[in-house]
């Protein structure tokens, strides 16, 4: 490992006092970050800690409200991603930005196609250049293949190839390994090391411990939009890093109560998604029990929740309170006594152009209607008491829901379901994009529902949350439940390893040793 010593390497990007707010949320406040050439810098923190926002500020996708960005010591105003790319800053995010109907080569050199005389595209040079970039990556794919014909994983590699072909000086990887298999992850990390040794800087956003320790020499930890610490790796232990990320006493925050589990309320046998995102799965749940489902993005945990909520088609047997439930039909799900809250609040939960009252009443249509007519008086009183019970901060029930903060929107979305007192609650990322205050409110709602006898399944990407609220924890890996833990005694590291490696007790973080040259 011939890494350039940290102190002498040139500072490439220096970020000072960056703040950024979004409606209702302060995403970053006064964050500093220094990235040196030839350094892999890990940027880590819980979901919602602001690490993605910070990387987007550096990549020119968000403009900061306050603070400065210096590149090569010079203050820069990055107004668009193109500005950042012109200065050698390239970001690869989780979401793909490829044009599926174009070829691999065209995608790699999008906007920079080689031209011959008369402005004609030089196809043979395009192909040769593409082959060269792909070879560097070790990816064997026909440059003339259509991107839409490739697997998601290969598409991700094309995205990386595009970044490499631009002579990037700072490569930002925003959870770029989350949709990659182990082998592809290994290849990517090898590449990161290889480019680092050539002098490229890499900012790696991740909360996977093995990756951090495999390639990075320094890690910056964010929490709730604030800089917590920048520490050297591997001198800082994994436990210390986790402590910095979580940072708070977890006990009371989650309002966890001891509730004796009651009778069996949910019996799932061989439930499998039609789209193949998760394999036949068995599961039981008792009244008053909170089951946490952990796993990485793409592990199938979210789709499992969608199948239980009737949002996607699935096969298998599901019994709710002893009665079979029809699958793939939200109406049947609701009738059976299952309340489902989707993870994509904006896309699947709220009516953005309607007010709070109507957003609430949508889930109550059957109970507020007699002979097809809605009782506006009953609607008014139900909405008013829901607003009060769940602490929704708003001027009135006539306020447009999209003007509320994410936390207050979520209180309505959750409240309209919980208030129906379903036998089972299936909550997909219930605290995503929600501030800390609203989170505690939401945890209280869950405890109350459990106490009233509901069986609750919470899907969450935040391990501390899963640990804080669950009586029992199941971990999804590649479409299967690979491990189960008792909530109160579960340990974060064991769950994380089950989620990353698919086994309960990790032998070795496989990536680590082999990628260090």
């Amino acid at each position: 490992m011939k890494q350039i010593p940290k102190e002498t390497a040139a500072v490439l990007v220096e970020v000072k006092g960056i703040s950024k707010g979004f409606p209702g949320v302060k995403a970053l406040s006064g964050v500093d970050l220094t990235i040196r050439a030839g350094e892999v810098h890990a940027l880590t923190g819980e979901n919602g800690s602001g690490k993605s926002t910070l990387s987007k500020v550096i990549a020119g996708m968000h403009r900061p409200d306050e603070g400065t960005i210096r590149i090569d010591g010079e203050i820069c105003e990055l107004e668009t991603p193109a500005d950042a790319i012109a200065r050698g800053i390239v970001m690869i995010s989780q979401e793909l930005t490829l044009a599926p109907t174009l070829t691999v080569a065209e995608n790699i050199f999008m906007g920079r196609l080689p031209k011959s005389s008369w402005g004609k595209i030089d196809w043979s040079r395009l192909r040769a250049d593409a082959v060269q970039v792909l070879d560097r990556l070790g990816v064997h794919v026909d440059p003339n293949a259509l991107v839409s014909d490739l697997s998601i994983e290969l598409q991700q590699e094309i995205e990386i190839a595009r970044a490499l072909s631009t002579d990037a000086r700072l490569l930002i990887l925003d959870e770029a390994t989350s949709s990659l298999s182990e082998a592809a992850t290994k290849r990517l990390l090898e590449l990161v090391v290889q480019e680092r040794d050539k002098g490229m800087a890499v900012l790696m956003i991740t909360h996977r411990m093995p990756e951090i320790y495999a390639v990075s020499s320094v890690a910056t930890v964010l929490r709730d939009g604030c800089l917590i610490s920048t520490v050297p790796i591997p001198q800082t232990s994994e436990e210390e890093l986790v402590r910095l990320m979580v940072g708070r006493e977890l006990g009371d925050y989650y309002s966890k109560q001891d509730i004796a589990p009651g009778e069996l309320v949910l019996d799932v046998k061989a439930l499998a998604a039609e789209n193949g995102t998760f394999a036949p799965t068995d599961l039981v749940l008792r009244r008053g029990e909170i089951l946490g489902l952990a796993g990485l993005a793409g592990s199938g945990k979210s789709e499992f929740a969608q199948a239980l909520g009737g949002a996607i088609t699935a096969r298998g047997q599901v019994q709710v309170a002893g009665k079979p439930m029809a699958l793939g039909d939200p109406r049947a799900t609701i009738r059976a006594g299952v309340g489902y809250v989707p993870d994509d609040r904006k896309g699947c939960a709220i009516l953005p152009v309607r007010n709070i009252a109507e957003n609430f009443a949508m889930a109550w249509m059957d109970r507020l209607t007699r002979n097809g007519l809605i009782s506006l008086r009953r609607q008014k009183s139900e909405v008013a008491s829901a607003i009060q019970d769940y602490g929704v901060v708003t001027a009135s029930a006539d306020t447009l829901i999209s003007t509320l903060s994410g936390g207050n929107q979520q209180k309505i979305v959750l409240g309209r379901i919980v208030r129906r007192q379903p036998d089972i609650l299936v909550l997909n990322e219930p605290t995503r994009g929600v501030d800390v205050g609203a989170k505690t409110e939401i945890y209280k709602m869950l405890q109350r529902a459990a106490k009233e006898g509901a069986g609750i399944i919470v899907i969450s990407s935040e391990l501390p949350e899963i640990l804080g609220i669950s009586d029992r924890i199941a971990v999804f890996f590649e479409g299967r439940i690979v491990a189960e833990f008792d909530g109160p005694t579960a340990d974060e590291e064991a769950i994380a390893h089950a989620a990353v490696a698919g086994v309960k007790r990790h032998p070795q973080p496989t990536v680590t040793k082999e990628t260090e040259v």
Partner: protein, 335 residues
């Protein structure tokens, strides 16, 4: 957080109107009316007013149905053709000697059936509403031409028809029948939107179809129903049209298609769905009707009418868009 407007009081009412989605159309309507009252003395006379109502009543009936469709986040491009096809069915039934009430029923059933075809293809066969109704626009028009080899059906001399003709041109007390009929339809349409589960579901689906589905709204049935309602208004409009004109023509009035959709959009019902209502449509229709009337009174060639209503449509949606942007900016600043 906005300050809550005091309920009641004239000031509150004025503020509510100015904040409403149809404020632009209402202000324009008032301005144009004031202008015409000053420069065209005939404008403000009772017969002229009632003339505006009568000549726009077919369009208004169709616009009520179109409002429902647009609120649901879809569009029905075929209602003009459906009206023409229903009118031909009505005319042929009358000529074949069918009693008037049965023939009226037949025209309405024809409209319902055509609406059902649209709704079934959109909601259950899951074909894009744009494709479906663009296709049926052509199909229904063609059917109207085929049934009588492309020629009009004159029902003037059909015994029994005169009852309908006299009725649609007649009065109830001082008010024309068509005015009363339109007001009744308007109240029903508004009431259904506001007070029924179906009406509320329509807004929900138009605003976020997946959220509506996940919360137990029967999306397919509501969408089917909304196209059936559009067909129903086509059937009703065809009866009024034939009743007034005494002839069923197999050619679709393209200007009608534009006027109706323009009235809906000018009235503040958003093309993107989930917002709007029939009060806005009423104001939009009146505005277009008054402008058209003003042109006629001023002796401007009727060929200009299309250019004007088309321009008004684009202008009003553009201004509405600016208003939306301004509102959004104001909100971001508040937060």
């Amino acid at each position: 957080m906005s300050t809550k407007p005091k309920s009641g009081g004239f000031a509150a009412l004025v503020r509510r109107i100015f904040q409403s989605r149809y404020a632009g159309a209402l202000i324009s309507l008032v301005l144009v009316s004031v202008f015409l009252s000053i420069y065209q003395p005939v404008f403000l006379t009772w017969p002229n007013m009632m003339n505006i109502v009568k000549s726009n009543s077919v369009g208004f009936i169709l616009a009520l149905g179109a409002t429902y469709v647009v609120i649901s986040g879809t569009v029905d491009l075929s209602f003009g053709s459906a009206t023409t096809a229903s009118a031909m069915a009505f005319g042929l039934l009358l000529v074949a000697g069918t009693p008037l009430t049965l023939a009226i029923l037949g025209a309405i059933v024809a409209g319902l059936l055509l609406g059902f075809i649209n709704g079934f293809l959109v909601a259950y066969a899951k074909i894009s509403f744009f494709v479906v109704t663009l296709g049926t626009l052509s199909v229904f028009q063609s059917m109207a031409l085929v049934v009588n080899s492309g020629t009009s059906v004159s029902v003037f001399s059909v015994p029994g028809f005169s009852a309908l003709n006299q009725f649609v041109n007649g009065n109830i007390g001082p008010l024309p029948v068509l005015l009363v009929f339109n007001i009744v339809l308007f109240l029903i349409a508004g009431g259904v939107l506001r007070f029924t589960a179906f009406g509320r579901s329509l807004y929900a689906i138009g605003s976020n179809i997946e959220a509506a589905r996940l919360n137990g709204i029967n999306v397919k049935r509501v969408l089917l129903l909304v196209f059936i309602i559009s067909g129903l208004t086509a059937g009703l409009a065809s009866v009024v049209q034939v009743g007034r004109l005494t002839v069923a023509s197999p050619n679709v009035d393209m200007n009608l298609l534009l006027t109706v959709l323009a009235a809906v959009l000018i009235g503040g019902t958003a093309m993107t769905g989930g917002e709007g209502g029939v009060l806005g449509t009423l104001i939009g229709m009146l505005f277009l009707g008054v402008v058209q009337n003003g042109l006629t009174l001023s002796g401007v060639s009727s060929f200009w009418q299309g250019a004007l209503s088309g321009s008004i449509l684009i202008l009003s949606v553009w201004l509405g868009g600016i208003r939306g942007v301004l509102r959004a900016q104001k909100q971001t600043q508040l937060e």
